[in-house]
C-alpha cells in the first residue's frame, strides 16, 4: 500500500507567503482570545477545592447548585464530569475554613436529597501553590525553548534554531488559544501535553531540516527554494504517517481515557494537527527568509564530528 505517489516536487515555497499568512492570522486570533477570554485555569493553578461526586442516577445539576447555595457557598461551579451521573464541583478557597470542612459540608448537604451520593475524589490546593505551579510552568517552557535552540544551533545553524522555535511556539500559542476560545479547563496534565507537543513538533522541523542539509550536499545545482521543496516533498509521506500513528494513540486516549485524560488528549490532537502545518509550511519558510545558504551547512560538514562516516554523500561535498 502507498498513499503518496508524488512525481514532481510540490512547490511549497512558492506559496509560502499565503501559508504563513494563514498561520499568522490563526496566531493573532489565538492571542486575541487568550487576552479577551483568558484561560479557564484548573483548581491546581487558582487554588480552591474540587469535589467529584457520583450519583446512582443521572444527577440534577440545578438541584445540586441549589443545595450548595443553601449552605452559603458562593461562586461555586457545578458541572457534569465524564458521565451524567458524575458531578464535579469547584469551589474557591474560603478564608477561615479548611477544605475538609468545606467538602464535608457540601457532601452532607448533598446527602439530604440522595443518600446514595458517593464522594469519588477531592482536591484542595492552597493559593500559594497555584502561583508556584504557574511560575514553574513558565520556567519549564523557557527551559525547553532555550534547550532546543541551543541543540539545533549546534547541530544545524542558528537560523534553523530560530525558525524551528518560532514555528513551534506558535503551535503552543494556538493550543492555548483553543483552550481560551472554548474555555476548556487548563490543568497540569494539559500543560504537560503542551510542552510534550513542543518537543514533538520540533521533531518534524528537525526531520525536514535534516533533509534540507542532505539535499544541499547532494544536489549542488538546485537553488535554496528547490532544495526546500524537494526536502518537504520527500519527507511528506513520513510526516503524515508518523503523525497519523501518534494521532491513533491520542485518539485511543480520547476515546478510552475518560474525562481525566480528555483535555490532555485534546491538547495533543490540536498540537499534532498544527504541528504538521507549522513544521511543513512555516518552519522551512522562515528558515528560507532568514537566508539559509549552502555555505552555512557545508562549513559545518567540514568540522562535523557526529556525521556518519558511512554516508556515501558526505565525501562528495568536499
Amino acid at each position: 500500500m502507498e498513499f503518496f505517489k508524488i512525481k514532481k516536487d510540490i512547490p511549497f515555497m512558492k506559496n509560502a507567503i499565503a501559508f504563513n499568512a494563514v498561520s499568522f492570522i490563526t496566531f493573532l486570533a489565538a492571542v486575541f482570545f487568550l487576552f479577551s477570554r483568558g484561560l479557564h485555569l484548573s483548581v491546581e493553578f487558582t487554588g480552591g477545592t474540587l469535589m467529584e461526586v457520583s450519583y446512582s442516577q443521572p444527577a440534577d445539576l440545578n438541584a445540586v447548585r441549589d443545595q450548595i447555595a443553601k449552605i452559603g457557598l458562593t461562586d461555586v461551579q457545578v458541572q457534569n464530569f465524564g458521565t451524567a451521573r458524575d458531578v464535579m464541583i469547584r469551589m474557591p478557597a474560603v478564608k477561615g475554613q479548611s477544605s475538609a470542612q468545606q467538602s464535608e459540608q457540601v457532601l452532607t448537604a448533598l446527602k439530604t436529597t440522595d443518600a446514595n451520593v458517593q464522594l469519588r475524589r477531592t482536591e484542595f490546593v492552597g493559593p500559594q501553590v497555584g502561583d508556584e505551579l504557574a511560575a514553574d510552568g513558565l520556567k519549564a517552557l523557557a527551559f525547553v525553548v532555550i534547550g532546543i535552540m541551543i541543540y539545533l544551533a549546534m547541530r544545524f545553524e542558528w537560523k534553523f534554531a530560530v525558525a524551528a522555535i518560532i514555528a513551534n511556539l506558535h503551535d503552543v500559542v494556538i493550543i492555548l488559544g483553543f483552550f481560551a476560545f472554548f474555555q476548556w479547563e487548563f490543568s497540569l496534565p494539559v500543560l504537560a501535553a503542551v510542552l510534550a507537543v513542543l518537543g514533538y513538533s520540533v521533531n518534524e522541523s528537525v526531520v525536514i531540516f535534516d533533509r534540507i542539509r542532505e539535499n544541499f550536499r547532494r544536489y549542488r545545482k538546485m537553488n535554496t527554494v528547490e532544495i526546500i521543496d524537494n526536502a518537504i516533498t520527500s519527507t511528506i509521506s513520513r510526516t503524515i504517517i508518523t503523525h497519523g500513528c501518534t494521532q491513533l494513540m491520542v485518539l485511543s486516549m480520547l476515546l478510552f481515557g475518560g474525562a481525566t485524560l480528555h483535555y490532555f488528549a485534546l491538547a495533543l490532537t490540536i498540537g499534532i494537527c498544527f504541528g504538521i502545518y507549522s513544521s511543513v509550511f512555516v518552519a522551512a519558510a522562515i528558515a528560507m527568509w532568514l537566508g539559509i545558504r549552502r555555505d552555512d551547512l557545508i562549513k559545518h560538514t567540514g568540522t562535523k564530528v557526529e556525521g556518519d562516516p558511512e554516508d556515501p554523500h558526505s565525501g562528495a561535498v568536499v
Partner: protein, 617 residues
C-alpha cells in the same frame, strides 16, 4: 552487509530476558496481606516478633502463603481477604494488648503475588500512584517564621538570665517579631551586654542604636542558626507526623520533606480523610501539675477510696495510678525543647527540658515552695491524659532548665523526649494541597489507562502491518519490545506510575513508531531510486539514524524540562516520557535492525523485500 556480530544479538537476547523477568511480576496481581511494623521508635520488628506472629496464626488456625521479614516490617500474605481479616485480628490481639498505646502497627495491605524466585531477584510490580490505587495526599507547609519566633522567645529569656548572672543592668527586654530588643541607660552597659551576648549566644548577631535617651541593642538570629532552627523544626514535625500516622494503621505511608519548608504525606488506601486530617492536625498537649500526696489521695491511688475533690486520677505508663490536682501549673506552650541526655552526676539517662522565660519564672516559684513534693508531667492526646513521669522535687529549679531523671532507660528517655517534643509541633503546619481518590476511581483509572494503551497499540500495529507488510511486522514487534522494556524499567526503578504516566506511555509509543516510519520510508525511497534490496536496507537504517537521534534529543529536552520543573501529575508524566524515549532508541533502531538482519541478512541473492508498494517514477 546486513549482519550483526554475535555480541549484538547477545545484547538483544539479554535485554529481552531481563525485560521479561522484570515485567513478569506485573502479571501476577496482588494478594491480600497483613503488614506489621513498629509503632514506636523503641520497638523493633525482628525474628522474635515473627515467632509471636507465627504462634498467633497457628493458634487461630491460619496458614499464611508467605511470611517475610524485611526493612523492619513483617509481611504475611494470604490467599483471600477472609483469612486476611481473621489474621489481622489474631495478630492485633497477640501484639497490641492496649489499642490506645500501640507498640506495633498492624495494617492491611496488598502484596505482589509473584513467585518467590522473582521476589528474590527484587522484581516487583510497578509502584502505583495514589490516583491509581486510591488514598489521600497532603502537602503541608511548615510555618517557619513561627518556629523562629518561638526560638527568639526562648532566647530572650536566656538573655535575661545571662545578663542577670553577669550583673549587667538593663531597662527592659522585649521581643519584636524575630528580633530581641534590650534597652540600656548608657553606652558602657550596652557594650558590656553586647560582650556577654557575643560570648554566650553564638546563634545571635547584634546591632546597637541610640533610641531617644536610651540605647537599644537589637539581637537577631543569624542565618546559620536560623537555617538550623528550620531544619530541626521540619525534622521534628516529620517525626511527630510519623508517630501520629502510625496510629492510623497505614501499610505504606510516605512522609517526605519537600523543599525547605514543606512536608508531603501520602496515605495509600486510606479513605477516611476526615480522620486522617484529624490525626495529622492533632496537637498533643503537655501539662505540669502537682501530685496530691494527702492520705485520701493515697487511698484513692490504690483504688480503695474515692478521688478527692479538686483532683483527677491518671495512670502512669507503668500502670501505676497517680492522683493529680486539677490546677495546671504549666502547659506545653511554655516548653521550648526536650532533649534526651544523661545526668551530669549520676550518669543516669535523663530528659532535658527547656522552658521559655515565663515558664521558667513560674517553675522556679513553684519548685521553691514545694520541695519534697511530687510534680507530675502529663501528656494529653485525643483528650486522654497520661502521666509521663512524676518525680520528687529536690531543690528550687531556676533558669528554665529542667531535668527529668530516675528509673529510665536510654530508650525511654529518647521516647519521653520525643513525646514531649511531639506534644507541641516545632512550628504550626497548614495543609496547602490535598487530594483524595476513592478506590473505585483508582481501579477505573487503571482500566482507562490500560484501555488507552492497548487500543492505541492495536491500531498502530494494525496500520503498520498493512502499510509496510513484513517491515511493519518488524516495527510492531519492536514497538512491543519498547513497551516491554519500558514496563521493566519502571518496575525496576519502582518509579511511581500515575494516570498521566499511563498517558505518557501511550503517547511515547505513538512517538516511538516515528523512528520505524522514518526507517521504512527511507528504505522504500532507496528502493525507488533503484538500490538493491540489501543496500537499500543498509542505507535506510544508516541515513535514518541521524534524524532519529536529532528528533529524540529534542523530545528528550522537553521531557527533562517537565521532570525538572514539574510537580505531582506532571512529574509522573515526565518520568515515563523520558524513559520511554530512551527505550525506544534501543527497540526501534537497534532491535528492529536485528530482526531485519536475522530475516534478510543471510540471503545473498535477495530479489525483493516485503515493505509494501514501492512505486517507480
Amino acid at each position: 552487509m546486513n549482519r550483526y556480530p554475535f555480541w549484538k544479538y547477545a545484547i538483544i537476547v539479554i535485554a529481552l530476558l531481563i525485560g521479561s523477568v522484570y515485567t513478569l511480576p506485573n502479571f501476577f496481581g496482588e494478594a491480600p496481606a497483613v503488614q506489621i511494623s513498629a509503632g514506636k521508635s523503641s520497638v523493633k520488628v525482628d525474628a522474635l516478633v515473627q515467632e509471636r506472629v507465627e504462634q498467633a496464626l497457628k493458634a487461630a488456625n491460619l496458614t499464611p502463603e508467605v511470611l517475610s521479614l524485611d526493612n523492619g516490617s513483617l509481611k504475611v500474605r494470604f490467599d483471600n481477604t477472609d483469612n486476611q481479616l481473621k489474621a489481622k485480628d489474631a495478630i492485633q490481639h497477640a501484639l497490641v494488648p492496649d489499642a490506645n498505646d500501640p507498640s506495633y502497627v498492624v495494617a492491611l495491605n496488598l502484596l505482589a503475588r509473584s513467585p518467590a524466585w522473582l521476589t528474590a531477584l527484587n522484581a516487583a510490580p510497578m509502584y502505583l500512584g495514589l490516583d491509581l490505587r486510591g488514598g489521600v495526599h497532603f502537602m503541608l507547609q511548615v510555618d517557619m517564621p513561627a518556629a523562629l519566633t518561638k526560638k527568639a522567645e526562648s532566647l530572650a529569656g536566656d538573655i535575661r538570665t545571662g545578663l542577670r548572672e553577669k550583673n549587667v543592668r538593663h531597662s527592659g527586654i522585649s521581643r519584636n517579631g524575630q528580633t530581641i530588643e534590650v534597652r540600656f541607660r548608657d553606652m558602657a552597659t550596652l557594650e558590656a551586654a553586647q560582650r556577654v551576648i557575643q560570648d554566650q549566644f553564638v546563634d545571635l548577631q547584634t546591632t546597637s542604636a541610640p533610641d531617644g535617651a536610651d540605647f537599644k541593642l537589637s539581637a537577631t538570629i543569624n542565618p546559620v542558626a536560623a537555617r538550623r532552627v528550620q531544619e530541626q523544626a521540619i525534622k521534628q514535625n516529620i517525626t511527630t507526623l510519623h508517630n501520629r500516622i502510625n496510629e492510623l494503621g497505614v501499610a505504606e505511608p510516605v512522609i517526605q520533606q519537600q523543599g525547605t519548608d514543606r512536608i508531603v504525606v501520602q496515605l495509600p488506601g486510606v479513605q477516611d480523610t476526615a480522620k486522617a486530617k484529624d490525626i495529622l492536625g492533632r496537637t498533643a498537649t503537655l501539662e505540669i501539675r502537682m501530685v496530691d500526696d494527702s492520705a485520701e489521695a493515697r487511698s484513692a491511688e490504690i483504688g480503695s477510696g474515692p478521688v478527692p475533690f479538686g483532683t483527677e486520677r491518671f495512670l502512669e505508663r507503668s500502670g501505676q495510678a497517680v492522683i493529680v490536682k486539677k490546677q495546671v501549673i504549666l502547659t506545653g506552650e511554655n516548653l521550648t525543647d526536650a532533649q534526651p541526655g544523661f545526668d551530669s552526676q549520676s550518669q543516669e539517662a535523663a530528659v532535658h527540658l527547656t522552658l521559655d522565660a515565663k515558664g521558667a519564672r513560674i517553675f522556679k516559684d513553684v519548685t521553691r515552695e514545694s520541695i519534697g513534693k511530687r510534680m507530675a508531667i502529663l501528656l494529653f492526646e485525643k483528650g486522654k491524659g497520661e502521666v509521663v513521669t512524676a518525680p520528687v522535687i529536690r531543690s528550687e529549679i531556676g533558669g528554665g532548665r529542667v531535668q527529668i531523671s530516675g528509673r529510665m532507660s536510654t530508650v525511654e528517655a529518647n521516647d519521653t523526649a520525643l513525646l514531649l517534643r511531639a506534644g507541641s509541633l516545632a512550628a504550626p503546619m497548614e495543609i496547602i494541597e490535598e487530594r483524595t481518590i476513592g478506590p473505585s476511581l483508582g481501579a477505573e483509572n487503571i482500566a482507562k489507562g490500560f484501555d488507552s494503551v492497548t487500543w492505541g497499540f492495536v491500531a498502530v500495529t494494525a496500520f503498520m502491518c498493512i502499510y509496510y507488510m513484513l517491515f511493519g511486522v518488524f516495527s510492531s514487534v519492536a514497538l512491543a519490545v519498547n513497551l516491554l522494556l519500558l514496563v521493566a524499567v519502571l518496575s525496576m526503578l519502582q518509579a511511581t506510575l500515575t494516570l498521566p504516566g499511563m498517558a505518557a506511555m501511550a503517547l511515547v509509543l505513538g512517538m516511538a513508531i516515528d523512528a520505524n516510519v522514518l526507517i521504512n520510508e527511507r528504505v522504500r525511497e532507496e528502493l525507488r531510486n533503484g538500490a538493491s534490496p540489501q543496500s537499500a536496507i543498509h542505507a535506510g537504517y544508516d541515513r535514518a539514524w541521524a534524524t532519529i537521534l536529532d528528533s529524540n534529543v529534542t523530545t528528550l529536552i522537553a521531557g527533562l524540562a517537565l521532570l525538572a520543573f514539574g510537580s505531582g501529575p506532571v512529574r509522573g508524566f515526565a518520568v515515563v516520557h523520558c524513559l520511554g524515549i530512551l527505550t525506544s532508541m534501543f527497540s526501534a533502531v537497534f532491535f528492529s535492525r536485528g530482526l531485519v538482519n536475522v530475516w534478510y541478512g543471510r540471503k545473498k541473492k535477495l530479489q525483493s523485500v516485503s515493505i509494501g508498494t514501492v512505486w517507480r517514477a
